[in-house]
């Protein structure tokens, strides 16, 4: 059966009232909602984001406050194993210096999510820009794709190390110690992870460029600038969004790996990766300290991946049509 099943049924009601079509994002949303994993992922992501953003404000315990006499509290474990006199002042417990783990998880999440989002946005912006330019202007294509290959061949770790050494002090002077490192890590992750997006976008732009509506725009006399913004960008949005979700997940993972290798933030500046790495040596005695940041990372990445999956389906008109 060929297509063309979609004939508009005449809407009931006032026959002269303009019919405002459901914005197609509404369709996307409807399809997205039918993807259970994606919905669960979205709910989790919103939840954890709120937990991290609003949580510290409600919780009120500073993540760096030391309370050495209350160290190694583990109310949940104690409650589970029936130890009496469980104190719920620190529901997730405290670490070996008496810092509140819940507050640390919230604060760590703020940073990890912020790193993830910003690095992802940076990578997407660079990748989309390079991809669109390379795809649209054949003259620049070869050059930009070689540049992409070059970046693919650049190792992340040495690059980060070098950047760390070169730019840390200027950035620290300009933005303060945490923000400076934050900018460094975000840029480091961002500029080493845009290449996939660029390739995908370029491929799509090359295909879209030959589509008749782009030709139509040119026949109208629309200049390249507006052809790109009006006709190309909106239509490469779906691969961009899918690689964005992957990029967010990768950035969170990369930050945790960088923290594990000891290249990250100041020692009293928690991120999920650092919390996890710090807790690994005490994994047997205090498994819950691994579990909180570990769960936070894994579930966030999982959630984001499912959202990506859902988006991919929702943005695919073939699937949406079914």
């Amino acid at each position: 059966m060929t297509e063309n099943t979609a004939n508009p049924p005449l809407p009931a009601g006032d026959p002269t009232a303009p019919v405002v079509d459901r914005n197609q994002w509404w369709d996307v949303w409807a399809q997205f909602r039918s993807h259970k994993g994606a919905m669960a992922g979205l709910i989790f992501l919103v939840g954890i984001t709120l937990f991290c953003l609003v949580g510290p404000w409600l919780w009120g315990i500073d993540p760096t406050t030391l309370d050495i006499r209350n160290k190694d509290l583990r109310p949940i474990v104690n409650a589970l194993w029936g130890v009496e006199n469980v104190s719920w002042a620190h529901p997730f417990g405290t670490d070996n210096l008496g810092r509140d783990i819940m507050a640390q998880t919230m604060q760590g999440g703020r940073i990890s999510l912020a790193v993830g989002w910003t690095a992802m946005i940076l990578a997407i912006v660079i990748g989309t820009f390079i991809g669109v330019v390379a795809g649209y202007f054949p003259r620049l294509d070869g050059l930009l794709m070689r540049l992409t290959d070059l970046f693919l061949a650049l190792p992340l770790l040495p690059l980060l190390l070098v950047m760390m050494l070169l730019f840390r002090d200027p950035l620290r002077a300009a933005f303060g110690p945490e923000e400076g490192i934050f900018i460094l890590i975000v840029i480091g992750i961002g500029i080493t992870s845009w290449m996939q997006t660029a390739r995908i976008v370029r491929g799509d732009v090359l295909a879209l460029k030959e589509r008749e509506y782009v030709l139509a725009a040119r026949s109208i006399g629309t200049p390249s600038r507006r052809v790109i913004t009006r006709h190309l960008l909106p239509n490469v949005l779906s691969p961009i969004m899918v690689s964005a979700t992957l990029g967010l997940a990768t950035a969170i993972i990369t930050e945790s790996a960088v923290s594990f290798l000891g290249l990250g933030f100041p020692p009293d500046y928690p991120t999920w990766g650092k919390l996890l790495a710090d807790a690994v040596p005490r994994m047997v005695s205090f498994p819950e300290r691994v579990i909180w940041p570990g769960l936070a990372i894994s579930l966030t990445v999982l959630a984001v991946n499912y959202i990506g999956d859902g988006l991919r389906d929702a943005l695919d008109p073939r699937i949406r049509g079914q």
Binding site: E3, N4, A6, N7, P8, P15, T16, A17, P18, V19, V20, D21, N23, Q24, R211, E212, Y213, L215, A216, A217, R218, S219, I220, G221, T222, P223, R226, R230, H231, P234, N235, L237, P317
Partner: protein, 347 residues
């Protein structure tokens, strides 16, 4: 203002070659001669049909005429302005005069824009109308092409093929063009819808005094809509004639074969028809045969056809054909000699 008898569109020796690069250093080793020396005029208010099989270069020709490509050679004069060499920015000022309707109504509409936005785009680009004026104009255009005003805010996916094609036509009409290239506007539509669109095009032509270049592979439909018809084969126009003589007494063997291949929707006549079934396939435009392009499949092929490319010449008033069958002996002999000399000098 130019006088009404000069043609609106004047194409001379239009060439559109796409280079082929190959080898170690990506040298240009050849070219796909999609359009190879096409000439024709279109008078004001008439419809020139351009027919041919897929791959013959008719769509490329249509696009080249509107300078959607940077052409390889030739002259294009539209409404008295030569645009063959113009830069894209100069062309931008010319765009309102000449518009295009595309083949695939699905692919020619941006799926992320509402119908209103699609039709308004040319207005945004070329006019300084206020928002309200633009909206009014869009609604008028929708009326003109028979689209319900109520659907202005809908997206293309909610429309049927025929309705989408109406949107495409409305967009083409937005700037009051004089000349519209219709690139297979009905090929992707259902039989019952094709007639609607063709009627619409005819009505609009009458109403706005439009001039069409109507590209199609459907000979029956072209016969219906076109006043004159050009037949293309492998990048060249092989025959150009007014409708009636072309259909009644085609000159070029290819035109004859093409017409005879069109199925006859009447079993009685179908049985009685004598069909010319061409053998083989169309050669590749990257590697056309020597001599006449049609010589590999021509039922009336002669020796000379395999050596010399026939000239496109007027054999009767208003009828042009490129075939050795219609070249007078003198000119043929002359050409043969020239050819031989050329061969000799090459040798």
């Amino acid at each position: 203002m130019l006088d009404e008898t000069t043609p609106l569109v004047r194409i001379r020796d239009l060439k559109m070659h796409f280079p082929i690069y190959s080898g170690l250093f990506r040298r240009q080793t050849g070219a796909v001669k999609a359009v190879d020396g096409v000439s024709f005029d279109i008078q004001r208010g008439e419809t020139l049909g351009l027919v041919g099989e897929s791959g013959c270069g008719k769509s490329t020709c249509g696009r080249a005429v509107l300078r959607l490509y940077d052409i390889t050679g030739g002259a294009i004069e539209i409404d008295g302005v030569e645009i063959g060499e113009s830069s894209q920015s100069d062309l931008r000022r010319m765009r309102p005069t000449m518009q295009m309707v595309f083949q695939d109504p699905q692919a020619s509409l941006n799926p992320r824009m509402t119908v209103e936005a699609i039709i308004r785009e040319p207005l945004d680009e070329h006019t300084t109308l206020s928002k309200a004026e633009k909206s009014k104009k869009v609604l008028e255009l929708m009326d003109a092409v028979g689209l319900n005003r109520r659907f202005a805010k809908r997206y293309p996916h909610a429309f049927s093929g025929g309705q989408r094609q109406r949107v495409g036509i409305a967009r083409a009409l937005a700037l009051n063009p004089k000349f519209i290239v219709c690139d297979e506007p009905i090929a992707a539509l259902d039989v019952s819808i094709q007639a609607q669109v063709v009627n619409l095009l005819e009505d609009l032509q009458e109403e706005f005094g439009l001039t069409y270049l109507f590209i199609s592979h459907d000979l029956s439909m072209v016969r219906h809509i076109a006043t004159r018809i050009a037949v293309m084969y492998l990048g060249k126009v092989v025959e150009l004639a007014p409708r009636a003589p072309l259909y009644d007494a085609p000159l070029h063997p290819y035109t004859r074969a093409l017409l005879s291949a069109v199925p006859e929707p009447d079993p009685a006549k179908a049985e009685a028809r004598e069909r010319i079934v061409l053998q083989g396939d169309v050669p590749s435009p990257a590697n056309p045969p020597e001599g006449c392009n049609f010589c590999t499949r021509c039922p009336a092929v002669m020796d000379v056809c395999r050596r010399i490319d026939p000239t496109f010449q007027e054999v009767e008033p208003g009828r042009f054909v490129a075939c050795h069958l219609y070249e007078d002996h003198a000119s043929r002999a002359e050409k043969a000699e020239a050819h031989a000399n050329q061969q000799g000098s090459n040798a």
